[in-house]
């Protein structure tokens, strides 16, 4: 149901994102999904990678502020409105979303979501039998 996500603190500097990506490349780490949240002075780079532990080690070695967080990941249908239907369930339970992103993996559409209340979100997922994604699901299709 949860998946390990890498968060990296990135200052707003030209070419900086690419420096981080090249660290991962040098260590032969694959990126399955990537998103950046930005503020005026810095951003948070969020990634799902092939080997989170190795990535953390490599990035800390290069003095980046980095940490693994467990986030909920769900499989969505391919039909229009699939994501909206899932979010409706969270809204009905009174949850709000801190951040969310989606990506395709092979034939699957994946939703990564972080709400303000993890236990409640898990309840919603279980109650509605939502299909979840595990880390191994992302490896299998590679």
């Amino acid at each position: 149901m949860t998946i390990r996500q890498l968060s990296v603190f990135v200052e707003n500097k030209t070419g900086h994102l690419n420096e981080i990506l090249s660290v991962l490349a040098r260590n032969n780490i694959n990126i399955n999904a990537l998103t950046v949240a930005d503020s005026s002075d810095y951003g948070l780079l969020r990634m799902l990678v092939s080997d989170p532990e190795k990535a953390v080690e490599a990035l800390q070695e290069e003095h980046y502020s980095v940490r693994i967080h467990e986030v909920l990941s769900l499989e969505m249908g391919a039909a229009p409105g699939s994501m909206s239907k899932i979010l409706d369930l969270f809204t009905a339970a009174g949850l709000f979303i801190e951040y969310v992103y989606a990506f395709s993996f092979g034939s699957k559409s994946v939703l990564v979501i972080r709400t303000n209340n993890k236990e409640k979100a898990v309840e919603v997922i279980e109650k509605n039998n939502l299909k979840t994604i595990r880390e191994s699901d992302l490896k299998a299709t590679l």
């Binding site: 200052e11 503020s39 003095h63 980046y64």
Partner: protein, 432 residues
């Protein structure tokens, strides 16, 4: 005009006798009433009986700011609390401030000293003085207030802040004397036109500026911008507050009120007294203070002394305008700040590294602080909101610890230069 000609123009020999007499009395008093000094003197093997004249002052121990903190709040007071009529305090490291207690005699002396300073600056009972120093625990506002009333000025105790109101009062009341920090005076000058005033409607003649170091160039700039004569008033809360020394019309050094505060300049390494004209650390002994008498208090301000008679007629020793400090203390908007205070706050919170870089700038003539703080390699928040809350949390902690507004900017680990040797943690971009 000279307020107290007998003292301010006293011959050097008479002044020396007064110093000797008062020092003997002070040493007796502190030895008998302040455990801290009794112990210090015993450690050095000095007894009150060893002090015969002012020359023997070199036998006495120094006092440092840390001693004041270690004895917070009242352990250095030399009289029972029933005799203390007022307490002032300055913001200090690690949440501890330094305190100063005054007896009625101290308050009366302070009033006399400010009367001398204001008279020295050409002020008299016909003047309307706008006191824009902060009133409260800070010594600036109340300190000048009583002296100004004593010489018969019309006192406008407006306190600090609120630029528009300051200018309105200045214009409506016909203020002739402005007392505030030099940077605030510059800020007010630059805000004149913006608020719809012109110099022509102002009656300002004199500025009494202090509580932070300022250069002679800044004096000339202030005098030009306001069309006034600007005077430097020096003081520190540990010794009394404003009025320890003041510039006269000659602008050739600040006359030290040496009948109350005996000044020495000591070499910053050997701590031995140096000759007139040689720069060193400025040290004061409070000859008459009852509440919290201090022996050889090392201000860490750098200056020189000049015992020659001044063209203004005063014989009182002159100290050069403060040129810097022998430690890393900063003065921001009149508030003392040691970089170690910042480190302490960061370490106590423990959510970032303790590596930081402080940028001090001037915006519209007011000091601003921006603090770059390094994140930890392994302790990252999950959302931007959490990171912003962390910044706010550091800002609030700094504000309550040091009393200053600081803008915090989080930066990546190891991005602030970690050079060998002396680490540069402060970049002061205020000086022109």
């Amino acid at each position: 005009m000279i307020w107290n000609e007998k003292i301010e123009c006293m011959s050097r020999n008479q002044m020396r006798d007064l110093h000797s007499e008062r020092l003997k009395e002070l040493v007796n008093r502190t030895y008998n009433n302040v455990a801290f000094y009794r112990k210090r003197m015993k450690d050095l093997g000095v007894k009150p009986a060893d002090i015969h004249s002012i020359d023997d002052i070199v036998k006495l121990p120094f006092t440092y700011k840390t001693d004041l903190r270690d004895n917070y709040p009242f352990d250095l007071f030399a009289v029972p609390m029933k005799d203390i009529v007022r307490i002032h305090a300055s913001s200090g490291t690690t949440g501890k401030s330094t305190t100063a207690g005054y007896t009625q005699y101290d308050i009366d002396n302070w009033k006399e000293l400010i009367s001398r300073c204001l008279t020295m600056s050409g002020i008299n009972s016909g003047d309307i003085i706008q006191i824009s120093y902060g009133y409260g625990l800070f010594t600036g506002g109340l300190g000048i207030h009583y002296g100004a009333e004593n010489i018969g000025c019309t006192v406008v105790p407006v306190s600090g802040g609120n630029t528009r109101r300051q200018l309105q009062i200045m214009s409506d009341f016909g203020t002739t004397v402005l007392a505030c920090t030099p940077s605030y005076a510059l800020h007010l000058a630059d805000a004149l036109t913006e608020h719809g005033y012109s110099l022509k409607e102002m009656k300002l003649k004199v500025g009494i500026f202090g509580a932070e170091p300022w250069t002679d160039n800044m004096r000339l700039e202030l005098e030009k911008k306001w069309g006034i004569n600007a005077f430097d008033i020096y003081g520190l809360s540990e010794i009394m507050g404003p009025g320890v020394a003041n510039d006269c019309i000659e602008h050739a050094g600040l006359h030290v009120q040496e009948d109350h505060f005996f000044p020495e300049i000591v070499d910053s390494h050997t701590k031995l007294p140096v000759r007139d004209g040689t720069e060193g650390e400025l040290v004061f002994t409070t000859l008459t203070k009852e509440g919290i008498p201090l022996i050889r208090y090392n201000t860490r301000d750098l200056s020189t002394l000049n015992h020659e008679k001044c063209a203004c007629g005063r014989t009182m020793v002159r100290m050069k305008k403060i040129t810097g400090r022998s430690d890393d203390m900063l003065i921001i908007s009149g508030i003392n700040l040691f970089p170690s205070q910042i480190e302490h706050v960061l370490l106590e919170m423990g959510e970032t590294s303790a590596h930081y870089m402080l940028y001090i700038d001037k915006e519209n003539n007011l000091d601003t602080l921006e603090l770059l703080v390094e994140m930890n390699e392994s302790n990252l928040m999950e959302t931007i909101r959490d990171l912003q809350m962390l910044s706010r949390k550091i800002e609030n902690a700094l504000n309550s610890a040091i009393g200053l507004n600081v803008k915090v900017r989080l930066v990546e680990p190891k991005t602030i230069a970690h050079s060998e040797g002396k680490v540069l943690r402060v970049i002061d971009r205020r000086m022109k």
